[in-house]
């Protein structure tokens, strides 16, 4: 007679076994897999709040002092600002993630991998063969479809790849919520490269508009990276159907594309004799709102799965 073996630790199950997502778990592994990490949600919540506060502080300083930054000073300040969102999230996560902490080196590696993939593949693909900036605003349909199929899918696939081909097969990826952690880290790496390029290529950054754009990019990508990570986490520990992960990627890409479109819509204003044409503040609200709602939904889903775990143990 076959002994029942846990699908995670691959040891024979002596006591109670549990069925979840078509797989058999021992009680210890089930508890671990379904564990929720409060640190992740606190880091995300505090990260969004801190990022908005950071933007407000920079905007306040800029409007009070009207700093004249040029050349190297501007590049250095811009580069530091571009790194702040990732530093805030990673910082809060490390502070919060105290019980059985995720290996810091791995989280940082996935962050760096996300950044490298953005620089080596994502940006060259979107700006090179696709030359998205040349045609994206040709019409509403082109804008939405281009943002989804080119920008959204490229960004989310590379975030998926950064997790799937690095940490996903490792034993350290041992909880469903790890997918959200690593997906968010990869996405923040990707966002950091986009922000650095924005600062260095703009050649002259308006401090307020620049810092808002940096914050919005980071919050949005982190959210959608979290979605990809959620699907990856469930894919690893449950027997989901074959369409599960492609559907997760498509969902994140569609949301990413729609965000790109609506961000353009809400930040574009009418041009008048007194100026106008671009107002970044609604973009900050949109980015913050999307991040809070996305991480809220992910938190709810992870917690709901955790609540179902004891029932699985009794099965």
């Amino acid at each position: 007679m076959d002994r029942v073996i846990c699908c995670v630790c691959e040891k024979p199950i002596e006591g109670e076994s549990a069925q979840m997502g078509g797989r058999t778990y021992c009680a210890g592994c089930l508890a671990k897999v379904t564990r929720n990490r409060a640190g992740l949600w606190w880091a995300s919540l505090l990260g969004v709040g801190a990022l908005i506060a950071f933007v407000a502080i920079v905007a306040g300083i800029a409007s009070a002092t009207h700093p004249i930054l040029q050349g190297l000073a501007l590049d250095v300040v811009g580069a530091v600002l571009a790194l702040v969102p990732a530093a805030i999230w990673l910082g809060f996560f490390y502070i919060q993630d105290v019980r059985e902490p995720e290996p810091k080196g791995l989280v940082l590696s996935v962050f760096v991998l996300g950044a490298l993939l953005a620089q080596a593949v994502g940006v060259p693909l979107v700006e090179g063969p696709f030359r998205v900036a040349d045609w994206l605003t040709a019409g509403v349909a082109y804008h939405i479809l281009g943002a989804i199929f080119v920008i959204g899918f490229t960004e989310q696939f590379l975030i998926y790849a950064a997790v799937r081909y690095s940490v996903y097969p490792l034993p350290e990826f041992d909880e469903r919520v790890d997918g959200v952690i690593y997906g968010t880290a990869a996405a923040l790496g990707y966002a950091t490269v986009l922000n650095l390029r924005f600062v260095l290529e703009s050649g002259g950054l308006d401090l307020v508009s620049g810092v808002i754009r940096i914050a919005v990019t980071a919050m949005a990508l982190a959210s959608f990276g979290g979605i990809v990570g959620y699907f990856l986490g469930r894919c690893k520990f449950e027997d989901e159907p074959a369409w599960w992960m492609p559907a997760g990627l498509a969902l994140a890409a569609i949301l990413d594309g729609l965000f790109v479109y609506f961000l353009g819509e809400v930040t574009t204003t009418a041009i008048t004799l007194r100026g106008g044409g671009y107002n970044p503040w609604p973009g900050l609200l949109l980015g913050g709102g999307v991040a809070l709602v996305t991480f809220g939904v992910l938190f709810y889903l992870i917690r709901r799965l955790r609540r179902l775990a004891p029932q699985a143990l009794g099965a």
Binding site: W135, A138, F157, W244
Partner: protein, 197 residues
Amino acid sequence: MVAQTHTQQLRARRDRWVNWLVVAVFLVALVIGWGVKSAAESRAVRCEAGNMVLSCPAGWVRAKVEPPVILRVEERVAPFRSAISLEERPLPKDMPKPLLAVQQALTLERAGWVAYRILSLEEAVPVGKRTAMRVTFAYVETNPNPFLETLPVVMHGEDYILPAGEDKVQVATFVAAQENYPLVAARFAAFLRSLPG
């Protein structure tokens, strides 16, 4: 134990399948994206010139013209504009090679352009049902605004000189900055195709 190993093998195989499926979905998305890009770039609007209805690139601005030019559309997003123009000139019937005579007249008119050079000349190129003379050329353009911090750019262009009826010749001209030339050449091709045969 064997059953568990078999299950694990099945799971590993399923993981590989899922992985390839994700890659396939990404590639399909890129193909669709390429289609969207092509559609956006080849957008055209109807524009009238003389008694012709032509296909002009959408988003380009129609400029005021004087004879012999009957149509000129420009892309006004760059300091050095891509442009398509159409001229109608009388056909020099008394010349042995009338299209070549028109080409030489064009060259003389452009003598004032900085570093104007003819790059190639093909005497018989099919355009719809007509046969045109195709001339490619290059010159250097400097922005007339002296306060604008721009380098002069090398412009690349081509003329299609087409007989139009018994006594007229049409000259369709396309110019673009060298670096933009391949990107917008397809729009000129669409314009050429819309010329009535």
